[in-house]
C-alpha cells in the first residue's frame, strides 16, 4: 500500500532519467465550500478539500456521489454555483478550461482519431506555440517514457486500449500541467492491463512530483494508488485520510460499508465508553459519540474477526470460499445473523458445518446506532 509520495519504496527502484519537470513541482489545490446543482439535483453540497503539492488524492464513491463533478470543476469544464477553487493559491474558479494548464486523462479513449500518436502528444504544445521540431522531440521523449517510442507514426485505432491510455497520459504530461486529473482512466481496460497501468501512473506521478486528483469508483484502485483517499456520498466528502485509515478506521457508516466488506454486529456502549461486542470490550473509533448504554451496531471487517473451532460455539460455518491467499467464511449465529470472516488460507482447514467461536481482533471499532439504515450501496462481499 502506498503512503506519502516522498517515501514510497518504488522510488528506490527508479533509474534517473532527465525529469520532465523537477520533482516536487506540483502545486496545492483547494476546494472551498464548492457547491454545484443540476436542477433539483445537488451534485456537490459545499465541498471542502485540500490537496497538497505533489500529492495524489483519490476521490472514491458510488455513481452520482459528485466525484466527477468535482473533477470537472477543477478542470474548468464546469463552474460552481458557490464556493471557490484555488490552484497554487490562485483563484481559478472563473478561469476557462483551456487556460488552466491541467492535464487530464479520461475514462473513454480520448485520443484525436484524425491525428497520429505523435501529433496527439504534441497537440498541447502546439496550442502553446512551441516550435514544430521542439514539440515533436518532446512528444517522442514522452512516448519513449510510456514505452511507446516506436508508435509515434501510428494512429489511435492501431493501438490497444492500454496503449491508447498510455498515449493519453503522455499527452496530458506533455504540457507540464500544474495538476494531473485522472477520470477513471483504467475502468475501460482489462484487469491485467489495469493493474499494470495503475502502478505506472503512480510511478510517473511520483517521479514528476505532480499534484494529481484521481476519480474512481474502484476501491482497490483508490486504496492502492493514492496518498489520501476521499470517500464521497451524495455530494459530500464523508472522509479523507490515508488509505489505511479509511479502511481501518472509517469515520462514518457509509465509509465503513462502501470501502471493503463489512459486518454489522449488535452491541452496546459500556459504562466506560467502550463498545461491548461479541463479549469483548473495544474502544470506538469516535469516542463519546454515543452515551453509555446505547444499543449500537459494531462495524467489523471480515479480517477483524477470528474463528476458533469450538463444538459448543455460537456460530456454524455455512459457506467457505477459497480466495487464494485467504479464505472467506460465512458464519451463521444462533440468532440467525450471518457474519463474514476472512483469514489466511494457509491455516487449518475449517470444514463446513463446524461450530466455532468468534473473536474480534481489531484495536478500534466503528459503530452506528442500532437500526440505522445501511447505505444504498452494494459492498463487495
Amino acid at each position: 500500500m502506498t503512503t506519502q509520495s516522498s517515501s514510497h519504496p518504488v522510488d528506490a527502484q527508479l533509474a534517473a532519467p532527465a525529469p520532465l519537470t523537477p520533482a516536487g513541482s506540483g502545486v496545492g489545490v483547494e476546494f472551498k465550500g464548492v457547491q454545484r446543482h443540476f436542477g433539483a439535483v445537488t451534485a456537490l453540497q459545499g465541498l471542502d478539500l485540500q490537496i497538497h503539492a505533489g500529492e495524489l488524492v483519490a476521490l472514491l464513491g458510488p455513481s452520482g456521489c459528485g466525484k466527477t463533478t468535482a473533477l470537472r470543476l477543477l478542470a474548468g469544464f464546469d463552474r460552481p454555483d458557490a464556493g471557490a477553487i484555488t490552484v497554487g493559491g490562485r483563484d481559478v474558479t472563473k478561469v476557462p478550461a483551456h487556460k488552466r494548464d491541467m492535464g487530464m486523462v479520461f475514462q473513454a479513449y480520448s485520443l484525436f482519431p484524425n491525428m497520429s500518436v505523435r501529433q496527439n502528444v504534441a497537440f498541447g504544445l502546439r496550442m502553446r506555440g512551441r516550435a514544430k521540431a521542439d514539440r515533436l522531440t518532446r512528444a517522442d521523449e514522452l512516448l519513449e517514457m510510456v514505452g511507446l517510442g516506436d508508435a509515434g507514426d501510428r494512429y489511435p485505432y492501431q493501438l490497444s486500449g492500454g496503449q491508447q491510455q498510455r498515449v493519453a497520459i503522455a499527452r496530458a504530461l506533455a504540457i507540464e500541467p500544474t495538476v494531473l486529473l485522472l477520470d477513471e482512466p483504467l475502468s475501460a481496460l482489462d484487469a491485467r492491463v489495469r493493474h499494470q497501468l495503475r502502478g505506472e501512473i503512480r510511478q510517473v506521478q511520483q517521479r514528476l512530483g505532480i499534484t494529481a486528483l484521481f476519480v474512481t469508483h474502484d476501491q482497490s484502485e483508490a486504496l492502492s494508488l493514492a496518498d489520501r483517499v476521499g470517500v464521497m456520498s451524495s455530494g459530500r466528502l464523508e472522509q479523507i485520510d490515508t488509505p489505511e485509515n479509511v479502511y481501518r478506521y472509517p469515520a462514518t457508516a457509509f465509509v465503513a460499508e462502501f470501502v471493503g466488506a463489512m459486518n454489522r454486529v449488535g452491541g452496546r456502549i459500556g459504562d466506560d465508553g467502550q463498545v461491548v461486542v461479541l463479549g469483548q470490550r473495544i474502544p470506538p473509533t469516535t469516542p463519546d459519540a454515543y452515551a453509555p448504554g446505547t444499543a449500537v451496531e459494531a462495524l467489523l471487517r471480515p479480517e477483524a474477526l477470528q474463528v476458533t473451532l469450538d463444538s459448543g460455539g455460537p456460530g456454524e460455518i455455512i459457506e467457505r470460499t477459497f480466495l487464494g491467499s485467504s479464505v472467506r467464511l460465512r458464519v451463521s449465529l444462533e440468532d440467525g445473523h450471518e457474519l463474514l470472516v476472512e483469514g489466511p488460507s494457509h491455516g487449518a482447514v475449517l470444514p463446513l458445518g463446524a461450530r466455532v467461536t468468534l473473536r474480534v481482533v481489531a484495536d478500534r471499532v466503528a459503530v452506528t446506532e442500532r437500526g440505522a439504515p445501511a447505505p444504498a450501496i452494494s459492498p463487495q462481499l
Partner: protein, 290 residues
Amino acid sequence: MSAIEFEAIAPRRVAPPQPRTAARPRPRAWRVLILVSMAVFYVLPLVCAVKFSLINQKGTYGPQNYTAIVNNGALSDALILSLEIAAITAAVAVLLVFPTTVLVRLKLPKLTVVMEAVTILPIVVPPIVIAAGLLQMKETAPLWVVNTFFNHPLTILTPLYVVLAMPLMYRAIDTGLRAIDLHTLVDASRSLGAGWPTTLWRVVLPNVQTAVLGGMFLTIALCLGEVVIANQLDQSNLTFPLEMIQFASQDNAPGISVAMALVALLFTFLLLFMLSFLARRRGGRTARVV
C-alpha cells in the same frame, strides 16, 4: 529518455486476411432477377439518354451536343452561376449548421427536438409556397431590400438554398457527431489549451469530415437541380437547370439539354464517389476509437 518504468508493448499488428475456404453460395434465381430488373430500371434510361445526347442535329453520332455546352456562352454562364451558388450555399450552410449542431449536442441537448423540427420545415413547406411568399415580399419590401437581394440570383437564391439545404446538412452533421465521443474529444482539446475555434476546426471538424462533405455534396446536388424557386424569382439570369429546361423546350436542341443533364448527373456521381472514397479512408481510423 529511456523506458524504465513502462513495459514496451509492440503496436498491434493487423493479421493478414485469411483465405476463404468455404465456397460462396450460388445466388438464387430470384436474386439475379431483382438485380437485372433494377439494372434495367436504372441503367437503361441512362444508356438511352447517353445515346440520345450523342445524336447531333444532322442525325449522326458525335460529341457536338457536349461541345455546345462549352462553346455556348449562355450555357457556360449558367453553369458557372449554378456552381457559384452551390459552392457559396454549401459553405454558408456548413458555417451555420456545424457550430450550431455542436453547440446543441454539447450544451443544449434539450433543444435537439426543436432543431429537428425546425430543420425539417424546408421539406414540409413546398418550394412553390416559399417562392410565392418571396414574390409577395418583393412587392412590399423596401426598395433597398429589393435592390440588394432580388436583383441577382446569387443574392436571392443563395440564402434560400441555405434554408433548403438545412435538413440535409443538419442530419448529415448530426449523424457524424453522434458517431464520435464529442464530449470527451472537446474536453480533451480544451484541457490541452485549445480554445473553442481551434477545437472545432482542428479536432471536431476533421472527425466529422465525411459527414460534412456528405452534407455539402447533397447541398451542391440540390442547388444544381432546383428549378421551382429559381424559375419564379429570376428570369434574366438563368441557372443551369433552367437553361436545361429552356433547351429541352426548343425543337432544334433537345440533345444539348440531355447532354447537360448527363453532365450534371456525372458531376454529382463524382462527388458521391469522392465521398465514398474519403469515407473508406477515414472509416478505418475512427472505427475502433469512437
